[in-house]
């Protein structure tokens, strides 16, 4: 009897003890530890004198990592590194573009070139550089205190800079969902993709530089190219996206529609009309009596539809829709000759016969899987900004584009796939 019970008792003792241990060690309720990792920016503030003392002189080339706007100037490409500056690329041979140097400009998003002078925003200031020798770029003028929204205090003494364009942060439970979404939106709103293309936010017309941000348009007189003069600010309303000049008119794409301004008197743009449609992001391009507008749905653009609309603007006071072509997720577009080149999200770059878009779209060519955001037709090549870098194509035959080169980003920009 005793022998029988001895071993089982050990087991029972062991089981009882393990039960006890389990119940005391473990808390009696469920827990969830949530770790969110996302790309963000570290912000820091500097005072005005420190900010203006930051170097804006040419440096050795750096890797393209978060490229934005592109501007073509002669044999050179100016590629914006979002929020950081401008890469200068020698594109004499579009098959082998050479990264020459980097111009560090904090907060830079936009640029425009006028008679050898490059204009670039630098948070609160507008900078003018002499680029007649792209190997030796010089700052010729700083127009101070024009983009006042960039100040981080009311006294206008401090400015918030963002360090390391993209970083990875890990947060735990205490960060609420809304906070993360805001940060994400900040990140995505920091991008404008193509300069000189249809996603432009700086544009030049009749010796004037027009700079748009989300709500306003600022006017600069650049009749003396190397000394831009700030004229005034015009409030346009919310959700301004793009600006396209044509025939002394400014076509401004917004999340609510396309505004048309008469700029016959360049310093006094006059409101003509607004072509309203559903809320979407709206690059606009104008070709003669027709305006081509892309509408897309996306995180930044509220709910909306994906369309390429052809609008008759013969009478700019009452634009009329001719045809709405359903698309996948259209972004920037350009027209060259008889062809319209459209960046259509996951569907890639599409080439249409432009007149066919008024009736039945005739798709001539399509390059898939590059998630393009903007396209620029230059004499040498068709330049396409994509999530993985800058592609250049020979487009002498629009039905058969031939890739010439691909300037790679150090890391693909996955966020572009969605906007």
């Amino acid at each position: 009897m005793e022998a029988k019970l001895q071993t089982p008792l050990t087991f029972r003792y062991f089981l009882a003890v393990s039960l006890f241990i389990s119940l005391t060690f473990l808390s009696s309720c469920d827990t969830e530890k949530r770790t969110t990792t996302y790309f963000g920016k570290i912000s820091y503030e500097v005072d005005l004198s420190t900010f203006r003392a930051l170097s804006v002189s040419q440096q050795p080339p750096t890797e393209l990592s978060n490229s934005g706007a592109i501007y073509v100037y002669g044999n050179y490409l100016f590629i914006n590194e979002r929020g950081k500056g401008i890469h200068i690329v020698d594109n004499t041979n579009p098959s082998i573009p050479k990264n020459l140097s980097f111009l560090p400009i904090e907060g830079n998003q936009n640029m425009a070139v006028n008679s050898n002078i490059l204009y670039a925003d630098n948070y609160i200031d507008l900078l003018a550089f002499d680029i007649s020798d792209p190997q030796n770029i010089k700052l010729v003028k700083r127009v101070e205190d024009v983009f006042l929204e960039a100040y981080s205090d009311n006294q206008k003494t401090r400015i918030r800079l963002y360090k390391d364009t993209i970083i990875t942060n890990t947060y735990k439970e205490e960060i609420s969902y809304n906070k993360r979404v805001e940060d994400l939106l900040y990140l995505s709103s920091s991008g404008s993709y193509g300069q000189g293309g249809s996603l432009a936010r700086f544009t030049l017309l009749n010796d004037h530089l027009y700079a748009i941000d989300h709500n306003d348009m600022r006017l600069f007189s650049v009749s003396n190219a190397s000394s831009p003069k700030y004229l005034k600010k015009i409030t346009l309303g919310a959700g301004i996206e793009t600006i396209f000049p044509a025939d002394d008119k400014l076509f401004i794409g917004s999340t609510t529609g396309m505004h048309i301004y008469d700029a016959a008197i360049p310093s006094q743009p006059a409101f003509l009309s607004t072509y309203t449609h559903v809320s979407s992001c709206d690059p606009v391009i104008v070709d003669g009596k027709l305006a081509y507008v892309t509408l897309r749905s996306g995180n930044m653009c509220q709910a909306g539809s994906n369309q390429l609309q052809v609008i008759n603007i013969e009478n700019p006071k009452s634009p009329a829709l001719i045809r709405s072509n359903p698309m996948n997720n259209p972004h920037g577009l350009t027209i060259s000759g008889e062809s319209l080149y459209l960046c259509d999200g996951a569907s890639g770059l599409k080439v249409f016969n432009k007149t066919s878009l008024k009736t039945t779209p005739n798709l001539l060519h399509q390059i898939k899987e590059i998630y393009p955001t903007d396209v620029l037709a230059t004499p040498k090549s068709l330049i396409v900004t994509a999530y993985d870098g800058i592609h250049q194509y020979d487009y002498s035959n629009p039905s058969k584009l031939i890739e010439l080169s691909h300037l790679q980003l150090s890391k693909p920009q996955y966020d572009r796939i969605y906007y």
Binding site: T7, L19, R34, Y38, R180
Partner: protein, 185 residues
């Protein structure tokens, strides 16, 4: 750190279980039979849902010890994740009477095999520990019915990604009261 401690704890139980099995087999080699204990029940907890737990234990019954040792596999349908636990199992009955109280223990690892992963959603299993106390009713021969109440500790994780833009990793620690009805033969 916590995972390390839990790992050590589970290793300790695994070793103890192995030791128990071996020593029992040595001493009572002649008097064992096949044992099966199939159970279904619910797991009550604070993190939402009332998950169902189904499991079947297959092993060896050491008659004289009134002890069963073997392997438990099952399926746990938590609201957040469905898991397949694979565990070492022990059942220890306190007497030979018609109605016998028992201690039970299942300790092992639960796998995410039945969850469908996509590029945006990934799952991970985790360690599981489930001590119970119960009663066996001998009224249904040869099957006997059991009723148990226990405590189930389960780790698991789920990771949501939005391409590489952001990812959310949820590490769950389910600590649930289990109530199970079963058949044993």
């Amino acid at each position: 750190m916590t995972a390390y401690i839990i790992k050590r704890r589970i290793n300790f139980f695994a070793l103890a279980w192995l030791f128990a099995l071996l020593s029992a087999a040595n001493g009572y080699a002649q008097s064992y039979t096949y044992a099966n204990h199939t159970e279904a029940g619910i797991m009550v907890g604070t993190l939402g849902g009332l998950p169902v737990n189904f499991q079947t234990f297959n092993g060896i019954r050491f008659k004289k010890l009134q002890l069963e040792a073997g392997l438990t596999i099952g399926i746990d349908s938590y609201q957040q994740i469905v898991l397949v636990p694979v565990a070492a199992g022990l059942r220890c009955y306190l007497n030979h009477a018609k109605t016998a109280p028992y201690f039970g223990m299942d300790a092992g690892y639960s796998f995410d095999w039945v969850e469908k992963e996509t590029s945006d959603l990934k799952f991970g299993g985790g360690y599981m520990l489930n001590p119970v106390v119960g009663l066996r009713f001998g009224n249904l021969k040869p099957n006997k019915t059991t009723l148990s109440v226990g405590y189930r500790h389960q780790l698991a994780s789920a990771e949501e990604g939005f391409n590489q833009l952001y990812t959310t990793k949820r590490e769950y620690s389910f600590n649930r009261i289990t109530i199970r009805f079963g058949l044993s033969y």
